[in-house]
Symmetry: C2
Subunit: 478 residues, 2 copies
């Protein structure tokens, strides 16, 4: 059994360190994003930001420190977040009169300000996003996936009514789904969170959920309809067309650097990272092989290919360092570079080069004249192929045959016996928190979401056997 | 006398609030960057980031919280920053064993990590930049210019030797100068800081200094040669080609959101913001005037101009709201939109429109056929004109005739009597801290920098009259 199958956590940690994406730091649960890791975030940022602006949002920046009294104003919110807050209690040599929390999210600070900014229906909708660092001091941390400090974006919008706010909530969930599927090549189930899994202070929370190669789930993005809860807590009212002061309806939505972790866990393999071409900092690496130093035409040819690829906007590197080809192959494989091209004296004689996609078993011989076009084509094809493979993996491990808790236990047990991952199951759910809780206690499977398009409709609750109100994805989660 | 001349601070605060750039928050000295303000930062970021990458730098992200013990390692550093640090002392309901500072800058955390990352001369240079929020809990704050939390970039590089590190220090100062002059249209004096004004822990600090319309200085960017001070404190060594372990030489350099404040104080006028075209979120506003609603051709014509400008990548708005033209003119003026175009029924009959540059006295009639080209041209010309005006203003208020402290006092006094700003003076300086200190005490004029290209060489120290080692810009500063 491979390390990836045998000890997924070890594989993950080894992989991100070998690929030089991050480093641990002496501050508990806080990592340093090294340039190769940060560049992945920059690509996610660029595409998300483009989509946010396309849908009418603008960026702003709010203070990181939030007065304790702000949290007290929305009781679910403080209940949910207070166990994880770091506090500033002193500054410039003096005790502060009121403790200031390092923001875990900014609903309260923004709520306070929106109450000033919003006066009339003419001011609505307010469509603002923030790129920021946030803090959640959690016990168990895992690089990218769950860290004490992480980077994210948080959208905060205010609307005239429920309909408009709900439309926004759904629109942003859809933006997340498209970016995660198109850019990161990660298929996701979109759906609604159960009440127990809601964001602290939300009326409804929606999520996109992705399956990792160990069968565990990563919540890859959430979008919340907050109703008038924060508007009431922070007195955000506007004068409507009928000249009445009414509360706005707000939403919030977020995605974070955990997407980097999810991408690695979905596509990575025994040799290291596998990066979708749209995400890869380096998309193509050109490597001279054999006794290439004696034949200058080899590097000349690669230089030409390099220039042509570059002119097409493809991110390419030529590795003419002194290391052996084997060393280089290994190095670029663990960094997940999508396409490798080798050119040696014999290839040159034959007027061809060897091309290898990071996820392919074999190299392909390609005529030098077709090389640039073939590389370009391979990058497109590979992006789709990685997505399709991830879909196939997810389908294979999304089970719909489980109807009862006993069947779920049996499913998990037989998976273990057969050395398979248990994956997720679609289970009926009556709507009671207690049933959800019991499934969790007995199996560690939690509700991921109530998918908008379940593959089938379950009739009975997987825990109590009563009539099911919803069909829900259950699985273990990060 | 205008508000701007009479009470510059009031003018500044009024202007940024009316232009909707920021808001105060209940957290001392922390502001919220509203979308119109944040977009200015996004433009600065985009251009700086492009230049950093062009010069071989990559972005990374380091933890915001820094253990107290890290600060202790470089004595000048802790001395300089400790009076301004906010501290996290509790997290998740527990007292921390060691206090964690909110970073005022990241030399210490990065030094700690570089000591791990750098092993051999092959690893050098390390060229990393970080975009981040930082904290300096200062007593007197002013939006954008000096806030408890601000946004900035900090470059941190490591080199094999002094020569390479000094080259980097100068290169980045030059990048700053070019961006600030080209993009923000702010002329700056580049030069070296005196020892008393150095960054805490630097061997040498260089700066670019800009003159505001009230004659005060804003330090618009700094670049530091840190020698081996941080390398020694954090044990950052590498194996050189001679197989010896030697310390790296490091640099750091930063610019921040204070550039937004500087831009406003350099170009703004009585009517509000004046934005250089390259910086303006909206570069052109098209406004139908007169009884335009009765003549649909007017908006049709403006729609066409709008589409053509947009196709050229020009950021344009058409304001066909119900407000009066006067209201609209005022609104867009205070937001600093560079070019306004008016089109009314009579203009249309004459086949022309009226165009007004934000900083021009008069409107110009332009034939409709030439309108797009004229607008495009005006945006280019205005960018240069604003820069040239700022240069002229600075020249007028950069004085070289002052040779002694008495003359400086007389100069300040006569400025006051004549209702002029005192501006800056080029003073000789013997190199003694005490002389610098005395000038400051007596006049509030501090050393800005020792310019690389002083307009003239001063022979004697402005304070003690002994031989001058340097010609230094003195002025009041933010």
């Amino acid at each position: 059994m491979s390390v990836q199958q045998n000890d997924f956590s070890k594989w993950y940690i080894d992989t991100i360190q070998k690929a030089d994406l991050m480093d641990y730091t002496p501050v508990r649960g806080c990592i340093a994003f090294k340039p190769d890791g940060y560049e992945l975030w920059e690509r996610i940022q660029a595409e998300m930001d483009r989509r946010f602006k396309e849908t009418g949002h603008r960026n702003a920046y709010f203070p990181m420190l939030i007065p304790e009294s702000f949290f007290q104003k929305e009781k679910d919110h403080i209940e949910g977040f207070s166990p994880e807050l770091p506090w500033v209690t002193e500054a410039a040599g003096e005790q502060l009169e009121e403790r200031l929390a390092l923001r875990p999210t900014s609903e309260t600070m923004i709520g306070h300000l929106y109450s000033d900014w919003i006066k009339s229906y003419r001011d609505l909708p307010v469509l603002i996003n923030q790129w920021a660092n946030v803090f959640r001091w959690e016990k168990k941390t895992l690089p990218f996936i769950r860290t004490s400090e992480f980077l994210w974006q948080e959208g905060h919008t205010a609307h005239v009514d429920e309909e408009d706010a709900r439309k926004e909530t759904m629109q942003m969930l859809q933006v997340y789904k498209e970016v995660v599927e198109d850019l990161l090549a990660i298929p996701v189930y979109d759906g609604q969170k159960t009440p127990s899994e809601r964001f602290a202070g939300a009326v409804d929370t929606y999520s996109i959920e992705a399956m990792m190669k160990d069968g565990k789930a990563v919540q890859a993005g959430t979008s919340h309809y907050l109703g008038t809860k924060f508007a009431e807590a922070f007195d955000i009212k506007y004068l409507n067309k009928e000249n009445k002061h009414v509360h706005v309806h707000t939403t919030s939505w977020g995605t974070s650097t955990r997407l980097i972790g999810a991408m690695i866990m979905v596509h990575g393999d025994e040799q290291g990272l596998v990066l979708p071409p749209k995400m890869a900092p380096t998309q193509v690496v050109l490597i001279p092989v054999g006794p290439w130093k004696k034949k200058p035409e080899i590097v000349e040819n690669l230089d030409k290919v390099f220039a042509e690829l570059k002119a097409k906007g493809i991110r390419v590197k030529l590795d003419d360092s002194d290391q052996s080809p084997g060393y280089k192959f290994n190095e670029w494989e663990l960094k997940g570079v999508p396409v490798r091209v080798e050119l040696g004296p014999r290839d040159l004689e034959n007027g061809q080069a060897l091309m290898k996609a990071r996820d392919a078993e074999e190299k392909t011989a390609v005529a030098l004249d077709d090389l640039v076009a073939s590389i370009e084509n391979e990058l497109t094809v590979m992006q789709t192929r990685l997505y399709d493979k991830a879909v196939a993996f997810r389908e294979e491990n999304s089970h719909t045959h489980v109807d009862t808790l006993d069947e779920l236990k049996a499913h998990i047990e037989s998976s273990q016996t057969e050395g398979k991952i248990p994956g997720w199951i679609l289970g009926g759910w009556c709507g009671e928190d207690a049933c959800e809780e019991n499934v969790k206690e007995e199996t560690k499977f939690t509700t991921r979401n109530i998918p908008f398009n379940p593959p089938t409709e379950k009739k009975t609750c997987v825990n109590c056997g009563k009539e099911a109100k919803h069909s829900v994805w259950f699985g273990r989660a990060y």
